[in-house]
Amino acid sequence: MSRRQKKDLLRIAAAAVLFLAGLLIPGETARLILFLLAYLTVGLDVLREAGEGILHGQLFDENFLMSIATLGAMVVGEYPEAVAVMLLYHVGELFQSYAVGKSRASIASLMDIRPETAAVERNGSVIDVDPEEVAVDEVFVLKAGDRVPLDGVVIEGTSALNTAALTGESMPRDVAPGDEVISGCINQTGLLRVRATKLYTDSTVARILDLVENASDKKAKVETFITRFARVYTPAVCGAALLLFLVPSLFMDGRWADWGMRALSFLVVSCPCALVISVPLSFFGGVGGAGKRGILVKGSNYLEALAKADIVVFDKTGTLTRGVFHVTVVHPDQISEEELLRIAATVENASDHPIGRSICAGYHGSLALEQLSDVCELPGQGMSAVLDGETVSVGNEKLMRSLGVELPDCPHAGTVVHVARGGVYLGHIVISDQIKEGAEEAVSALKREGVRKTVILTGDSQAVAQEVAAKLGVDEAHAQLLPAQKVEQVERLLNEKRPGGTLVFAGDGINDAPVLTRADVGVAMGALGSDAAVEAADVVLMDDDPRKLATAIRISRRTLAITRQSIVFALTVKLLVLALVAVGAANMWWAVFADVGVSVLAILNAMRALRVDGL
């Protein structure tokens, strides 16, 4: 609690004691004095601010409404009501300020990744300085348990880094000299010497904190709607209060005091606080909670748009697949798989081509390179060499045809590498990208969340795209697209989406900036450390797990649901109480509940948005 809040609490307690004493004490005069004292203890500030408000032309502010309602109640002679309304109004305000402060603090601790100091090597000794004072290319030291203060490159030592605070991923990441380290991670085991590659303000941790903190600057539509609504609601209820007072007292029974109390109760209910506060508070919690799970949402509006995801478009390579090529199938003719791989790897050993490298990586035995001679690279076709006295050719269909070798059909998608020895076909090896772990689950989770359509857009071949789409259960796949054609596809899909729905594009952030911007929500995956992707995207998944997309949608849905609950609940109670007050079935106590009570409940509900574990 801040000092101001403590002062408020003391004042409320004092007023409460005076009020209770007033209720219990016999004797009219003594009661009146106690009530007045209690009223002034809590109400003086409100009256003063109401006065200032009137001078500034702020007619419908809360202080003004509360002052009129309570002063009116005293004129009518309802002293306990007047004091109670003022007292409870203060309790509500205090609770609100406490809850908001609490929520701010818990987001700060959720995102507790800010490094306190950096141990920099300067003039032969290690000194602790503020991370902001470290220059690029300075060297800092990380002991076990230290938080990485700036982005950098390891120059000495090996260790495991805990990236959980950034990515929500609990598997430690191993680092050795030459590897990049990202600020905000925790060094778990060894001693590391790291050369800073960025200033603190450009480092990952500073940028993440900035993003999460300022996400609520970009307001959700529902928030704008509610603040507009509040601007109409308060004057409308006040107008209704005036009519409720004047019409029946002038033209019907003339019971001024009774209708006056009802009208004053209206004023108490007319405060829009519960409505207005629940929206930003929920979104703040939702964005903070998502951050905790390694999902950076750059604005409340994007969180809102995610909740309405109707079509999800994926880039393939690096998003649903690993983007790393591996030997996936070995189809030998006459010889063993091992033998085929060994022959291919021996010949490709000299090659720098990615395909050659992945074949070598796929063979784990030892190579007899001394048997190899006359190695020759045939650009666009493959390699040939003499191995154990016979000519071996390793390459594509074109190469085989030029040698006059018969080829069988291969049903597998991917790049097919054929092997022939002395003009005899030995078999083929299929190299392909591998589907990411969890990709299938990611797609089915999206379907469960009500995403109507999933689409793959890729620059890769049709066969590969179809195979991946079929394996993962993706509805559509469009292949061999240039970046501009991807944008065209996204525009076509934007026209197909359901009214009110949104199109989400998820890519690895490389070369897809135009699509990320064109989609309603652009999601960059595995973007840890990639500045361009963080810049272009609306939502950033810190690790490259595609399942996080469904998590993000679940968090956004729940945040929106909480917001809706609070709005519907607050409005229902308020309207109900207004109706009951109008017909005389409820008194000012109910009105206080409809104002303060509803605010408190709406705030408590909004704070649930922060808890995202298990989503």
Partner: protein, 72 residues
């Protein structure tokens, strides 16, 4: 020019909304956001008008919530 200011003792969400509306109406303001949760005001205005805009914004803030102050 776009600048961010801290608002001290911004206690009421409805007041934040009112401030935002009032500041957006100030002549010369290109965009203005009052963020209740982070207690920050972001103003975008032309460099030449900025001083003028800022002092009017301060007045608007005082009008809506007398206890709230802009920290430069």
């Amino acid at each position: 020019m776009k600048k961010v200011f801290k608002l001290r003792d911004l206690d009421c969400a409805n007041c934040a909304a009112k401030m935002e509306a009032a500041i957006q109406k100030i002549h010369g303001v290109e965009s203005a956001t009052v963020n209740f949760m982070t207690q920050k005001l972001t103003i975008e205005a032309a460099d030449s008008d900025f001083e003028q805009v800022l002092s009017e914004a301060e007045r608007a803030i005082r009008r809506v919530e007398p206890g709230c102050a802009l920290i430069k």
